[in-house]
């Protein structure tokens, strides 16, 4: 039952500014994921929340209590680390109880009862009498989770908890974390560099870069309406294509093509992304963003009245479920995702079309998004209609 508020939070290490004044509201019971490249300040933010680092400026509040200078142990948070941080000389049970016993806030019976509960929830009863060296990576992380949940903390802070696991186990543990969260409903802040983890786990996702928050939104909204180039390129794999264009009379003009920009009933995305509402009529330089899967080879869509774009295929990468084509459109390199068994060869020139509802424009200088060819309003319908297919 905890909301966490960060106000203008700053952290400097000597000359290096790791966190550049961020504001964030974490809602009660929310699973919030902070994602970003290494060195973006996401782990530092989490450590500031835990109290492991002292803030340089700003405030942290938990349930409207100012905890900025409060010792970690008095914040009632539990942290789960990438390397599990289990005491190697203690059994699973002792690892789970050691911290609780140190705090002195719990009776022995209470501790005993909670350990049994947690062990049941996490299915680690067998591990309680083993030492970490006799556990697999997944088992260790389960015990570490057990240690976190027995204390019934106000918030879980997780620092890349799945990064040391192999790919298969990671997917399994991901589902388990989601299940655990829906059972416990404890406010959770989860840091990762892996966008798939961020998208699948987060109720909301914070994208950070260079000590600043780039965007906070629900996963699908991040994907569909990136607020800037950074988010557009960071979320989604393979990344969104960025094509320099000139905007002239509502059209995007490139050396190799000209395509009309559908007019939007709401002015571009000012509501959620805070992007500017530059008029599309004027001539200006911009960057056109199209995701690889929003390109289509002609046979995929018949005569739709959309312009065709010539793309020369340089390299083809069969990914099994799709075929990724590295192409050149004029002087610009582009990735195009095609149906898996499309007969296209390297060196061939293909004529492609695109999804007119999935165009994004970014300011050439600032990188801020100022146009999405579809409003949020219509997205919801689109989602529904796609889901029904």
């Amino acid at each position: 039952m905890t909301t966490v508020t960060l106000q203008n939070l700053r952290k400097e290490f000597g000359d290096v500014v790791a966190v550049k004044g961020i504001d964030l509201e974490i809602e009660d019971g929310e699973f919030l994921v902070i994602v970003g490249p290494s060195g973006c300040g996401k782990s530092t933010t989490l450590r500031l929340l835990a109290g492991l680092e002292a803030t340089t400026g700003g405030r942290i509040e938990m349930d409207e209590r100012d905890v900025t200078g409060v010792e970690p142990k008095d914040r009632n948070v539990a942290m789960v680390f990438q390397n599990y941080a289990l005491y190697p000389h203690m059994t699973g049970r002792r690892n789970i109880t050691f911290g609780m016993k140190s705090s002195g806030d719990f009776t022995d019976e209470e501790i005993e009862r909670r350990v049994e509960d947690a062990a049941e929830t996490l299915d680690i009863v067998d591990l309680l009498d083993r030492k970490p060296e006799a556990m697999s990576g997944g088992e260790r992380q389960r015990v570490a989770l057990g240690r976190a949940i027995v204390r019934d903390p106000d918030a879980f802070l997780m620092d890349e908890p799945l990064s040391n696991l192999d790919a298969k186990l990671r997917i399994q543990m991901r589902a388990e974390l989601a299940r655990l969260h829906s059972a416990l409903e404890t406010t959770t802040v989860y840091v990762t560099h892996d966008q798939t983890e961020a998208m699948t786990l987060g109720e909301r996702v914070v994208v950070m870069n260079d000590g600043q928050i780039m965007q906070v939104d629900e996963p699908q909204a991040l994907y569909d309406f990136p607020a800037n180039r950074f988010v557009a390129e960071f979320i989604g794999d393979p990344a969104m294509n960025m094509i320099p264009v000139d905007i002239e009379d509502g059209r995007a003009v490139h050396d190799a093509f000209t395509l009309p920009l559908p007019s939007v009933d709401e002015p571009a995305s000012t509501d959620r992304n805070g992007a500017g509402d530059a008029p599309l009529g004027d001539t200006q330089r911009a960057v056109l963003g199209i995701r690889p899967e929003d390109f289509h080879l002609p046979d995929a869509r018949s005569d739709d009245g959309l312009p065709r774009i010539d793309a020369e295929v340089n390299v083809r990468e069969p990914l099994g479920d799709s075929l990724l084509l590295h192409c050149s459109i004029g002087a610009t390199s582009c990735n195009i995702q095609a149906a898996p068994r499309t007969a296209v060869r390297a060196g061939e020139t293909v004529s492609v079309t695109y999804d007119p509802a999935r165009l994004h424009l970014f300011d050439a200088e600032t990188g801020d998004a100022f146009y999405h060819s579809e409003s949020h309003h219509s997205t919801d319908e689109q989602v529904l209609s796609r889901a029904s297919k």
């Binding site: 290490f13 790791a18 782990s43 530092t44 450590r47 492991l52 680092e53």
Partner: protein, 294 residues
Amino acid sequence: MSTREIFDSRIESGLLLLPTLLVSVVFLYYPTALAVRTSFFDSSFGQADEFVGLKNYVTLLTDSGYHSSLLLSVVFALVVVVGVIAVSLYLTFLIHEVDTGQGVYLISVIWPYALPPAVGALVFLFIAHPTLGVLTGPIEALGVDVDWFNDGPQAFVVVALAAIWKQIGYNVIFMIAAMNNIPDTLTETAELDGVGGIRRLVSVYVPIMTPTLFFLVIINTIYAFFSTFAFVDLLTSGGPSNATNILIFDLYQEGFSFFNFGVASAKSVVLFLVVGVLMFVQFRVTDEYSYYGA
């Protein structure tokens, strides 16, 4: 960015550091300062100290006996360091090369690490004794007249051999760790290139082990200067005719046979400078290597 500094009570940390600092100040720093002070005084048992300025140092500068002791120490250190490094390196290489029995070989050559110098000295005194020694007969059969109680160079060799013997263990301990750290792929590349045996040791392993070897050169030098006292004391007492009178033994005699505390203190200060220079060189070179990521 993560930190181990999880406590911040100054009183607690002060209390934790107190015993080490107290003993360091009282029994290490203070006596050293006292030695520096005494080196400017004429001082001996049962008489008041008299300030004499640099007189004790001038004595050292002009005392030819001290000069030869200094030279002797340098030569002795050189012989011991080269001898220890060469023997230990070859031993380590052989142990590294064999497939079986590594553990047994290792323990049978590193045990002298535990050897008390006094024991080493007495055992050497016995086996190489000019009249009673087990080895004396065989060596004399080679045409050498074993007479190191009277022959200076022979005495020097005996003390040096004993000192080398004792230090092999310590050196092999560090060398085997360094050699085992060399990736197998490198050994195999060398083998494929036809670089075998001693050449592989000299041109592949030694360059990679340079940081360790350098560390050992410094440690062995300090050992030769300071920790070989027992060998000299028990084997030769600095003789014959000062042929084994290295600085540390000379200092001991100055202090506790002649009770010239002033001069002895000046000699201590000289020794302090010797350690200081060695340590300084070690830190500098270690730093340099760390830049190369070695």
